[in-house]
């Protein structure tokens, strides 16, 4: 179980060592469902869209899990899947919006719908709205930092940038989010 697995798993990550030591995917889901959902919510600014993308992320991950190389770290792998699912969702949303002539020009992230506003506290709503106003790469970093509580090194593994680049980019983004929330 979790406590007996070596390496990174002992720090909250997941590292399958060999075929006999693979962690049941249910455990992966239980550990990462909320962080992935929060990451998606920050990225998308919409709880319903985050729900959809979270589902897609774990469906894709489940299908690919058995092919994950032994020794691979599940956390960055999983969040890269989530990141790609978010990109797909945003492109589909932008395309649908254009087709429906509801929006013109660049696609926009779905805003928090009126029905969703009642579901979250005001400061959480302000956080999500503020994150939604960030450049896309900064939004990704804020989602990983605040939603998944990743270190800058882990963020680098997901984004492909250096830890220093992740840290520097997220500093300014987090400052803006702090101001928006009133912290």
């Amino acid at each position: 179980m979790i406590r007996n697995l070596p390496g990174r798993l002992a720090q909250g990550g997941v590292m399958p060592q060999d075929a006999d030591d693979w962690r049941p995917f249910d455990e992966v889901y239980r550990q990462f469902a909320d962080p992935v959902y929060r990451f998606c919510a920050v990225q998308l600014g919409s709880l319903s869209a985050a729900e959809e993308v979270t589902s897609q992320t774990f469906t894709t991950a489940f299908a690919a899990y058995e092919r994950l190389q032994p020794g691979s770290d599940v956390s960055p792998w999983l969040f890269r899947i989530a990141r790609n699912a978010i990109v797909d969702q945003r492109r589909q949303a932008a395309r649908a919006a254009r087709e429906l002539a509801l929006l013109s020009g660049a696609g926009r992230a779905p805003a928090l719908a009126a029905g969703e506003l009642a579901e979250v506290r005001d400061d959480v709503r302000r956080l999500l709205v503020a994150a939604g106003s960030l450049p896309w790469r900064d939004r990704q970093l804020v989602g990983l930092r605040l939603g998944a509580r990743m270190t800058f090194q882990e963020m680098a593994l997901v984004t492909g940038r250096s830890p220093a680049a992740a840290r520097r980019a997220s500093e300014r983004a987090l400052a803006r989010v702090r101001r928006a929330v009133g912290m």
Binding site: Q11, Y29, F62, V87, A106, G160, P163, A164, E171
Partner: protein
Amino acid sequence: VSVTEDLTGPATRVEELGPEERRLSDLLDELHAPVSASYYAHHRLGMATVLPDEAPEERGGRHGRAIAAVVALAAAVAIVAGYLTLRETPEAPAAAASAWHLVSSPSGETLAAVACPAAGDCWAVGSTLPGSGSTPSRVGIEHDDGSGWTVATGATPDGGVLDALTCVGAGDCWAVGEISGAGSSQPLIEQYAGQTWKRVTVPTVGPTGQGYFAGLGGVACVTADDCWAVGSNTGVAQQPLVLHYDGMAWSVVAGPAITGAAGGRLSGVACVGADDCWAVGAAGDAPLVERWAGSQWAVTLTPSLGGHVDTWLAGLTCLGPEDCWTAGHSGAGDTLQPFIGHYDGRAWTHVATPHIAAAGGAQLDAVACASADDCWAVGAYPGAGSLLPEIVPMSPGGSPAGGSAPASAAPASAAPASVPPVSAVARAATMPLIEHYAGGTWTVVRPPSGMPSAELIGVSCDAQGGCRAVGTITLARG
């Protein structure tokens, strides 16, 4: 880093987040993945026991793994432009093949900067990504002697990254970045003096301790004994950081304090003389331009760069005292757009560039010029399924021409046969953005065919018209 685990539920991680980050993160604790959102519910309730036929991983899994294997061998890329003959117009931005081609890198490094002090003598610096677990990042240095890129020997301290590079001559190069550990960082400077890269002594930048970060993102030299490095120091509030090399040692040079809670930071520096250097970055949500006129660094008012929401100047190059370019981004969220500014000897002005109608916007990270009429800017945009974003030609006034309807530049169906399989392209999360200046106009240039998901971070040009751009492949397996 301390860790707590709850074996009855999801593991809880206590990270290196600072107190303010922690409070923000705690707000999100009230968000929980709804049961209806879960793979778990789908499978447990039998709602989707078989994956859809079009599930990307199923559709292209075999191809995806093949691409991943290639990427693993060349996770960092160098793109080398030969003779830059491509001249694309906004009306037909993707009609011609790209003049850029992909050059593989020998290691799995993220390359952030490139410089060529002489023909057949190029350096690139960056960092290796951290490995699994607690393996820290390390400095990455590569060299091309004309026969291909190889990993260079030198100081590669754990926790170090190099983000900028400049060469005074073939045997005199500087690279700057930062070295981190225990939730803090300090500036890192390395020098190549003809034999190997060595880490040099850098004054400690205070305050120090967990949560305090100081690092460098730009470096430029006037002569071998007159160099500047710029970055930021995040203490109580983020402030620009400027260091100077006088031929003997690096020292911190005081600069103007940037007011406002968001503070300021510098990302690029360029010099055209001992008394004429520029540095760019961001002050809060506004562009930040500072100038060294021989005695002190001072903020330069740039009203013609203003008026744009959230402008961040990332890269800078100067061809002379009356010809400098800066590139970055402006706008928020999905309105994020590349931003290019020019200095003509009198003032900095915003220069119109094609509107990139990619969902999620686009940004530039670096700019370099081979001549006054031949400049390149590189960056990235989130892309999945096409090799070019949708591009709207800009009118002279800086607004999209011909209304706001974007014109598709390169639908996936029109992509050449040599592009990666759909499993790779369709799942690409980031695509490189390449823009070219010629004839008084910036245009978007097609990335080379076969370009996987990647970001371009640095670019350098020589007087012969050859340019090189470096970055990182971001193709995700899975």
